[in-house]
Amino acid sequence: MEKLRIEKKMLHRVKNFIKKFFISIVLLFLIAILFNCYSSENEIVSSLSIVSYGGGSYQKSHIESFLKPFEKFTGITMNSITWGAEYGKLKEMVSSGNVPWDVVEVTDAQFKRGKREGLFEKLVIYPESKEFLPNTIDDYGVANVYWGTVMAYSYKEFPDNQPNSWRDFWDIEAFPGFRALYDDPRGNLEFALLADGVDIDSLYPLDVDRAFEKLNLIKDNIRVWWNEGTQPIQLLQNKSIVMTSAWNGRIFALREQEKKIGYTWFGAALELDWWIIPKGSNFVETASRFITFSSYPERMAHQATLIGYGPVNMEALKYIEKDIQTMLPTYQENWNKSFVINAEWWSENETVMMKRWITWKNK
């Protein structure tokens, strides 16, 4: 009886001890966190933060081609961040004065708009090469790549007669099945006008009413308005759709796999991405050095072989293999079939177009 009582008491003591130990660990952890997390944020501020537009293999191409070599070259710790081109975030960051980002990749339309609204710092150092494509170096930024939105389709659905233009995309009878398009009026309005017979050199200023009328004809056949870069490829592979617009880099990534997805450069929409330094950044000179470093032909060539987007420094083509060159937007044959999205027009009309787009899409 006595033995049982002692054993019960011991068990009770052990249980109590474990309880107290558990609680004290949690408290210690809490205290550690409160001191730790705040200081770790300070460490990040002292290194250079590079923000890529989009993640995955595109972010990797920046890390392998630009960030790692620059880190090796200068010894500065580089951080790679991704963002979804949320212009609002950038604007708000700059207006608040709290700018944790040092170099940001923006779209052409955002570059024009941001320059107008005074969101960027002037570069301190510029690339010296003379083989840059026209209008790709500015006081406030240097362009990185030309990327394209192409029309992609499933080979299995159309083994004999492949679609070749946006007219075919709109032709439900000859090419039946569901389609997908990017959930943004930019690009889609141009594709609609091309399908309606507008000449590729006379797209701008856009006849918006005509474009929406043309889009109405295909609206019921659009199964998905995709908003993630990987979606169109997945939808084609899942057989949810037969045709879609897609970013050429995603298709480039499949080039070594079995040919299931075809695409065409006819009527492809090309856009430029720019490196800029947001106003209020703490390291303007170092950021400028990074931008210049990223514009070296060897660096750009390395990026092109990884991601399939066209470098703006044509000197880089010397370092790229021929079969990869043919897949780039800036390859002459592809360039001739495509058009460049007019960033000026879009920077002025983006907000209005977006509202109209949302209303139209959800009706």
Binding site: G84, A85, E86, Y87, G88, K89, L90, K91, E92, R113, D183, I222, R223, V224, W225, W226, N227, N238, K239, S240, E350, T351, M354, K355, R356, I358, T359, K361, N362, K363
Partner: protein, 266 residues
């Protein structure tokens, strides 16, 4: 000693005021009323989406609560082991995570489509994914546990003694259910409907992932405005959303206070 009691009881109220209401006031002052042109009449894109949002939110709230109510009755009547099992089933989705669950629905529905499994020919083209139906289905799936945990509040206050007392006085099981249980639980049911309605009104994760861009809700619009840099429009749309929900707030507050006074005596 009284001072300590008062301080202890004021701490949560002060925290809530500082952490919630102050940011709301700052937001209103900074991004809503700071703009020059304030128009409370929503533009065309907002109006279109408000209708769709109202439709989706109503169906989600009504169906989730309708499904959760009998489940709560089951919980109330069940033995202890089955109560535990049911609670675990309800809590399992919380552990797995919201994004993972949305993805699993995409995966399951894509798999069904790619294997051409006909779902009783309900849908003419056997496509469920990227439709309004799939958005509502997944939102119902997400909100059923919330409805359950809200309604369970009222059932936990009802003991079997009352039902047994009714039985001894000759009432049938359904009469007891109807006259003793439902009057004490209907208010919590209404609160559940209102809470889920309010939550799904600002929802954008599921419509973005499952909706295929064709079934946007007002939350997606606010998100878009943020991306565009149009913080003023985002805040204005959010304010319209808020104004529409204020009557909900008032009704639920009255219901909660009266229910608590009646049932809990305070």
């Amino acid at each position: 000693m009284n001072k300590i009691k008062v301080i202890l009881s004021l701490v949560p109220l002060v925290l809530m005021f500082l952490f919630f209401w102050v940011p709301i006031i700052v937001w209103l002052q900074k991004w809503v009323f700071a703009t020059n042109t304030i128009s409370f009449w929503p533009d065309s894109s907002t109006r279109t989406l408000l209708l769709n949002t109202f439709y989706v939110a109503s169906i989600t709230s009504l169906v989730s609560t309708t499904i959760a109510h009998p489940i709560t009755i089951f919980w109330w009547l069940a033995s202890r082991r089955y109560r535990t099992i049911l609670i675990s089933v309800m809590m399992l989705p919380l552990f797995v995570g919201l994004l993972a669950r949305n993805y699993s629905w995409i995966g399951m529905l894509s798999y069904l489509e790619s294997t051409n499994i006909s779902l009783l020919n309900i849908f003419s083209d056997q496509h469920i994914l990227y439709t309004n139906f799939s958005v509502v289905l997944v939102m119902i799936y997400i909100f059923i546990p919330f409805a359950f945990f809200i309604i369970i509040q009222s059932f936990s206050t009802i003991g079997f003694a009352e039902l047994n007392a009714g039985k001894t006085m000759g009432a049938s099981f359904f009469e007891s259910l109807h006259k003793l249980v439902l009057p004490r639980t209907w208010k919590q049911t209404i609160i559940s409907i209102l809470f889920i309605f309010a939550s799904s009104f600002g929802y954008y994760v599921t419509p973005r992932m499952i909706g295929g861009g064709k079934n946007d809700l007002i939350g997606n619009l606010i998100w878009r405005y943020m991306e565009q840099g149009d913080l003023d429009s985002a805040s204005l749309s959010a304010l319209i959303l808020l104004l529409l929900l204020v009557p909900l707030y008032v009704v639920s507050f009255i219901l909660i206070v009266r229910w608590r006074r009646r049932i809990l005596g305070r």
